[in-house]
Subunit: 428 residues, 2 copies
């Protein structure tokens, strides 16, 4: 097939291309494949890396640390040793960490839920008593974030992403509205684009002067140590940056070991100022006695510290790199010359995010589905599931083996080409 | 010391008794003890019983059940095998079970929280939009339950307990008020009295006709298999009883393995009608991907079924029985003849609940504290921490060794006698 941009081709050439691509697509359909690239799930080989976790604690004696028996009730904010581990990884202080259960998503949901039912530290009233709560959503972003603010009735406002992070000129304008109560951020290897916020953007975010006294920066550092290519990229401590900028209580940072050890059976952290944590812990004391400290200790014994964790992440990278490169190489070879889509080339995180020329995402994904490839639904990376350009497609390459990925990407590229050709040729 | 009821003694005899008891108390104080009987914490020996749990899963192959890899994302409502285990224990259907994380308290809190933020299945509006939400609290009851309904602003109404469970004549009257949205229940070995609701009471509860369409029975079956004396006492399946009585969606049942395996590192369950679970799971899909299924599977492999679980509970009983009998025997010997307090003689659960003649609880506990014994705070077993009679004292004998318990109970009995004598002798 030709390697000239579609827009530079004649109608005749496009018609010929359409016939060729369609024939290839039909052939792929006939294979009756069933491939799932919808979520950022680790592959079995990754899960197998950490079987040592299972035997990190085997005796009663193993369960005691800092004089605390992890098997019994107590220590609402988590094992001090788990806080030290997370503080080492995040670059904050142990006393700024709340060590939680298996899900950082749950910690995020609970934070927003408590803002609505009780209010946060600097809230004048629980948000459920307000007529309107607005929320900033850098897009494309993480669908599960947006669903949290949606379920509580927030009015979500799209903020464009730049290669350095959210467009701060726009953010600084929007936060002048007192009804704007917060913003979602994935600062490193953003979901889905894989963008690493620049230090300047992080500093601008930390120094924001929002009209709302209880403006809440939800800093989901989900991929803080998740490089699949190259060396570990250091990131700033957002808690410290906010403190230095005079906004000590503005930020809640989240992370987990779901993609370090086991998906959904790891441990999580919420990091925030000591004043914020004191307030949140007073609310959480009604909700729980503590998270599972045995699993926290299991992780402390197994991951040890940041250095040992980064070594483990190198093993994950060895498994993930070929998968991401399969996706990126096929996009480069098959799609780039056609100039029908653009994408970042992430070096970490769990996604490749393809931004097509406007109007192709839904159709491309419908064609993929017809050929047996399930991807994240079109629009998922936008509030309310509405992609105004119908352009963004999130590819999650982590789960399938490379051989399957190649087949899935073959189908994806054919589907995207068909969608583009249908548009150019005006085929209904 | 004499064994005649205080009220039957002369002023002179009481004055003499006071001097004797006071001298004994002072002697106990001089020992500078530091004993904690404040919470129902398992003892180290109990935690040591279940070390086999740690090695129930050691290889990747161990982690697969029913074709599901417990290590990866998915199965929001929990592993089917964990649901089967809980259904076996609770006598309900597996499809009526939501298998959760380490804390049933968290599931209870979340249920009430969602009632306020989103409303429950039959709610016309989220409860946060209502002017007044009332809640029935059988007393004495579990302080953590009452704190949940308190933190959401419910107006809590005390309902007296009888030896058969909550006084249903009163309950049936109160639920005619549409603002009454629910009731806390601990149906077996109630916290703190250790009362087992009679089957008749359970049937009456299941057949209630509350004015509120979304009346919510919070059925905390925390001690469902927790006999420390005698044989397992079967209990009715409340989900089935409510269904038969035409109230299929009225009840949410909770349980956990916190006092079967590890305190705060076990697994939990919320059981409810399939319609309720479907609704709740749709709300929870925003909050979490799933609870820790690895720990669920660890428990499935280790506990196996109800029969094996009951065998383990016999081992717990061997450790708990001497402790409870130390408390009950000392109460019988030291306090019963004086007629200054009454108590149930539970055969399971985690507490002995002493109901003194009115006005003695606070003073008794202050004296205990002065002598180095910390108990659950006075009033804790009542909404808002207010015991209208200042009468209830909850004793938690599980944690200390018997030798310490004897010392603590010595202090407790002396403290209670002093409090009673001060009242009778009118000593400020």
């Amino acid at each position: 097939m030709e390697q000239i941009a579609y827009k530079a081709r004649t109608h005749e050439a496009l018609t010929k291309e359409y016939a060729l691509v369609r024939a290839h697509y039909d052939e792929l359909c006939a294979r009756n494949l069933k491939l799932d690239m919808s979520r950022g799930k680790p592959a079995k080989e990754q899960l197998d890396l950490v079987s040592g976790l299972f035997t990190a604690l085997t005796t009663p004696e193993d369960c005691v640390i800092d004089g605390i028996d992890a098997r019994n009730y107590g220590e609402l904010s988590g094992l001090p040793a788990a806080k030290r581990l997370f503080a080492d990884i995040l670059g904050c202080k142990p006393e700024e960490c709340f060590a939680g259960g298996s899900s950082s998503l749950n910690l995020m949901y609970d934070t927003i839920s408590k803002a609505f039912t009780h209010g946060l530290l600097h809230s004048e009233t629980p948000w459920s008593k307000l007529d309107c709560v607005k929320w900033l959503c850098p897009v494309p972003g993480y669908d599960r974030h947006f669903k949290i603010t949606q379920t509580f009735g927030c009015e979500m406002i799209n903020v464009p992403m730049t290669p350095d992070g959210p467009d701060m000129d726009i953010v600084e304008e929007l936060i002048k509205d007192e009804a704007v109560k917060g913003m979602w951020c994935v600062p490193k290897f953003s979901n889905p684009d894989g963008i690493v916020y620049s230090e300047e953007t992080c500093r601008r975010i930390a120094a924001m002067k929002p009209a709302a006294k209880d403006f809440t920066l939800m800093w989901d550092n989900a991929y803080c140590v998740h490089e699949f290519e190259g060396e570990f990229i250091p990131f700033p401590d957002i808690i410290g940056l906010c403190r230095e900028a005079g906004n000590p209580d503005m930020v809640y940072e989240f992370a987990s070991t779901s993609k370090v050890t086991l998906a959904g059976a790891g441990i999580s952290v919420m990091a925030a100022s000591e004043a914020n944590l004191k307030y949140m812990v007073s609310l959480m004391s009604i909700q729980m006695i503590s998270a599972d400290k045995v699993n926290q200790l299991r992780h402390v014994r197994y991951l040890k510290d940041k250095e040992t964790t980064l070594e483990l992440m190198k093993r994950h990278a060895e498994l993930l790199y070929p998968k991401f490169h399969c996706v990126l190489d096929m996009l480069e070879a098959e799609i780039a010359p056609l100039e029908i889509a653009q994408w970042q080339k992430p070096k970490g995180g769990y996604f490749v995010s393809v931004n097509t020329i406007p109007g192709l995402a839904k159709r491309t994904l419908a064609l993929c589905k017809q050929a047996g490839v399930v991807m994240t639904g079109a629009g998922a990376a936008f509030p309310y599931g509405v992609d105004p350009q119908d352009s963004n497609i999130r590819i999650a390459p982590s789960l399938p083996p490379v051989a399957e990925l190649q087949q899935a990407m073959d189908i994806f590229c054919a589907s995207l080409k068909i969608a583009a050709l249908e548009q150019l040729l005006n085929i209904a």
